[in-house]
């Protein structure tokens, strides 16, 4: 072994066991693009989001849950969007909406909790990791010190892909956050793990509060309802003078085991109107070119509908990516409804870690292999 190599390896070894907690020095200045993640909680029905409307098997499997062919917003002769996503059609026409079909992973787990854990930690199906994939990425490659936070979780209690991140905060709206932040104080260290967690959160609050400006108002009209408010908060955060690398918003209610059509139509409308408003606000704030918006969910749903007019837990699903630097179009592969697995579920076409690798590598210029602990080919949806 050459001396130089030896030095490199010996430097790398201590990192292997504890890399989640290793603090790399944050660069003092500089900038970093923004990622807005939209979690579709409960397992979104990919087949009724991006509808294979021309496939006769679709109508056969979906006796009571198919979208009418005439209602589908046609994208290609084979695929169309759910009618609730109407507000995304201008983005598609502008070639700034990418649709990745067949996102999933090998040996799919059909439990909500386990599968979202796999997505959040970017683990293998049978591997248990504690830290979120973004927390690992930021531990290796911190955002500039001038940033208000690595990540902000809007309106949800779980930190998801930011779990374990040093500079991540959760809030419902910035005004309230700042009003309350005066009650927090930066305090010392402890051996009690629970107390250490509380002190770490206090420190994050104090540090982020110094750099958040809640004043931004928009011309853009935001939809009413909790998701519309979360989108407004996301837009305010995107416009914050001190940077933020990730904003995560959540739309819940996708676990449609029964009477799916009406419920799902309503969710799609909320999603479409929310994303439409977000795009408008990002353009208004001059951030459309430096932001990528991407959806994710723990799994899709089973192609065949069940007896209750709903669908049970599935596997691979379609996801949406939009932004000024997104290369619009269809990626991955159309659902193969004639090649279902033993549970009647879809085989996956693209590993979800390729989806992440594309963001890490192409959007942030990070070492995706290291953060994801494996090699996953990147996709072409970013210019």
């Amino acid at each position: 072994m050459k001396r130089r190599d030896f030095l490199r390896y010996s430097a790398a070894v201590p990192l292997l066991g504890t890399w989640g907690s290793v603090a790399f020095a944050a660069p003092a200045g500089g900038t970093r693009n923004l990622l807005v993640l939209v979690e579709l909680k409960g397992g979104n029905d990919g087949l009724n989001t991006v509808v294979p409307y021309a496939d006769p098997a679709y109508r056969r499997l979906r006796a009571r849950t198919a979208i009418e062919r005439d209602a589908v917003l046609q994208l290609t002769p084979d695929a169309g969007l759910n009618p609730g996503l109407e507000k995304l059609m201008p983005v598609w026409s502008a070639k700034q909406l990418a649709i990745v079909q067949g996102l999933g992973y090998p040996q799919p787990n059909l439990s909500h909790f386990r599968s979202i854990e796999i997505w959040d930690t970017a683990s293998k199906s049978e591997e248990y990791l504690d830290d979120g994939w973004l927390a690992r990425a930021f531990a290796r490659s911190p955002s500039p010190a001038s940033f208000a936070a690595d990540g902000v979780v809007v309106g949800a209690a779980d930190m998801g892909p930011l779990n374990g991140a040093g500079r991540a905060i959760a809030l419902t709206n910035p005004e309230q956050f700042l009003r309350n932040a005066r009650l927090a104080r930066d305090a010392g260290a402890t051996k009690n793990a629970s107390l250490a967690h509380i002190l770490r959160v206090e420190r994050e609050i104090v540090q982020s509060a110094e750099k958040l400006d809640a004043g931004r108002r928009f011309e853009t009209a935001f939809p009413t309802g909790p998701f519309g408010n979360a989108i407004r908060t996301a837009a305010q955060l995107a416009a914050n003078p001190a940077g933020i690398a990730v904003i995560r918003v959540t739309l819940g209610g996708f676990d449609t085991h029964a009477n799916q059509l009406g419920t799902h139509a309503n969710l799609m409308r909320q999603l479409g109107e929310g994303l439409g408003a977000l795009r408008e606000a990002l353009i208004e704030a001059g951030r459309w070119e430096t932001t990528v918006v991407a959806t994710y969910s723990e799994f899709g749903r089973r192609p065949a509908s069940n007896q209750s007019g709903g669908t049970d837990h599935g596997t691979a699903s379609a996801h949406l990516v939009m932004g000024g630097k997104v290369r619009g179009g269809l990626y991955g592969a159309a659902p193969k409804l004639d090649r279902l697995d033993g549970n009647g579920n879809l085989p996956f076409a693209v590993d979800f870690r390729s989806y992440y690798a594309t963001i890490l590598d192409r959007w942030w210029g990070m070492d995706a292999n290291a953060a994801l602990q494996g090699r996953f080919p990147t996709l072409e949806f970013l210019v």
């Binding site: 905060i169 959760a170 956050f177 009650l183 009690n192 967690h197 959160v201 609050i205 909790p226 049970d312």
Partner: protein, 498 residues
């Protein structure tokens, strides 16, 4: 002669010491700090008088006293609506838009009444331990009003959980599986042999008995789902009803055993697995002892649980009397849940509000809306209770409760200004924003009364020992006493621990 005697005497002394050593800790009085630790873990806060009452007991005396007080029924009568018949779903579907809206408002109101009743029971029951165990099972067999949409059924499930809270886990599992609220929540009510719904079959293994990844596969879930087909509801009364036409009476293979199983037989197959006792014991450990279960202790306690055929009392007696429970490093090792914080603070500081609705809303804002867990996995708890949003919410709540009466005139305009900010920020208030505002308004009626409370605290008691499970992080200001000291203690990060 002496030389030969000596070893005997020394041997005898030695064995005597051996006998004494294990006795020593458990035969001693638990003292003020021990009693505070014990009562805060098994209940929701504790007053100075209660702590002093327990301080003179030994571990086993304390544990036995709490177990002897266990109840099977609530002390307070439930809200009157639970006696009215529940609204059948088909009748709701037949309603026009206006009637549906009215019905939805009624359901929400009844849900709030139910939560207020439960919080009042937690606050005033002579056996807070019963309520803590009921809440534990509610989290274990998590069922949410948001899907069940029926206060009567939620109350019936709550009564079931209380009845077996310190009864038998096997009995409870069988009863919960046929409980109407659960049948609705996990979709089993409509499961038919032609297309079994797997939701309940999956969660009964993953969350209720074996634990994720513990020796079962997709195939076992599908087979078990067939066994549960036909466990349904009477469409008019919403009571449990077996529908033979829905049931798949064929042969199934579950966890390596084959037979024409029905649902009860599948539950017995699950209960026969050693993983079930270990899974439930681990969860109880995290609730009562520490966030990091001790593998060999859990195995020992799980064996007690199995030997006693899933009787809960012997397991809890062994767990609460264990050295691990009383170890100094476990004092303050758990993070208070929102209900610990809200109900525990009201109880410890003897704040007795006329209405508990603001307390229900406060717990909800902090992430724990009783009767509405986030999903079937329940509240994740532990560190997940605390993030920047919820920690600030907790501090704001405590700040408000302990502001003291003399600060009120000054506080009112500040809060009015905050409300205006909120209104500006949210032209169309979200349910969350409305909830927060209702909570904030309600909280103005809650105030800690230092003069009254201080008279109930014994001169010999230390307010810090009563309020905090671990030493304060921030030193009190020089000479702080009275209300100022209490305000300092409850704002300390250590107040979030139990």
């Amino acid at each position: 002669m002496r030389a030969t005697n000596f070893p005997v005497v020394r041997g005898a002394l030695f064995s005597f010491a051996l006998l004494l050593a294990p006795l020593a800790a458990s035969a001693q009085a638990i003292g003020y700090d021990g009693a505070r630790h014990f009562l805060n873990r098994v209940g929701f806060g504790a007053t100075d008088a209660e702590v002093r009452e327990y301080a003179g007991l030994t571990r086993t005396q304390a544990v036995d006293r709490v177990l002897a007080g266990a109840r099977r029924e609530a002390t307070l009568p439930p809200p009157a609506f639970v006696e009215t018949p529940p609204l059948p779903f088909y009748k709701y579907r037949e309603m026009n838009e206006e009637d549906r809206k009215r019905q939805q408002r009624l359901t929400i109101e009844q849900g709030l009444q139910l939560r207020e009743w439960w919080l009042r029971e937690m606050l005033s029951s002579p056996s807070p331990f019963t309520e803590r165990m009921t809440l534990f099972w509610h989290n274990h067999f998590a069922t949410g009003q948001q899907k069940v949409r029926n206060g009567q059924l939620m109350h019936a499930q709550n009564a079931l959980l209380r009845r077996e809270a310190l009864g038998n886990f096997g009995t409870l599992l069988h009863a919960v599986a046929k409980d109407p609220a659960m049948l609705i929540y996990l979709d089993n009510a409509g499961s038919r042999r032609q297309a079994p719904n797997e939701n309940f079959a999956r969660e009964v293994m993953e969350l209720f008995t074996l634990g994720e990844g513990h020796g079962y596969g997709e195939r076992d879930i599908q087979e078990a789902a067939r066994a549960f087909t036909g466990w349904s509801l009477d469409r008019d009364t919403l009571k449990f009803m077996f529908r033979p036409a829905f049931h798949d009476g064929g042969e199934k293979t579950v966890l390596g055993r084959t037979g024409r199983f029905d649902g009860d037989e599948v539950l017995d197959i699950l209960l026969a697995r050693p993983e079930a006792a270990e899974f439930v014991t681990t969860k109880l450990w995290k609730e009562f002892v520490s966030p990091t279960p001790d593998g060999s202790e859990v195995k020992r306690l799980a064996a007690v649980f199995r030997d006693k055929r899933y009787e809960v009392k012997p397991l809890m007696r062994a767990m609460l009397a264990s050295d691990a429970f009383w170890a100094p490093e476990q004092r303050g090792a758990l993070i208070k849940s929102p209900l610990d914080l809200v109900v525990g603070t009201l109880r410890t500081f003897e704040i007795r509000p006329a209405s508990l609705r603001p307390a229900v809303l406060a717990s909800t804002v902090l992430g724990q809306n009783p009767m509405s867990p986030p999903n079937v996995k329940g509240w994740p708890g532990g560190e997940a209770w605390i993030n920047s949003a919820t920690l600030l919410g907790r501090k704001q709540l405590l700040d408000r409760l302990f502001r003291g009466t003399d600060a009120m005139p000054e506080a009112a305009p500040m809060m009015a200004a905050a409300a205006v900010d909120d209104a500006k920020a949210e032209a169309t208030p979200t349910p969350e924003a409305r909830l927060r505002r209702a909570m904030e308004r309600g909280m103005q009626t809650y105030a800690f009364d230092w003069d009254r409370w201080s008279r109930t605290v014994d001169r010999s008691s230390s307010v810090e020992s009563l309020a905090l499970a671990a030493p304060a992080v921030n030193a009190a200001p020089e000479g702080a006493q009275g209300l100022e000291l209490v305000r300092h203690l409850v704002s300390d990060p250590a107040y979030q621990l139990k």
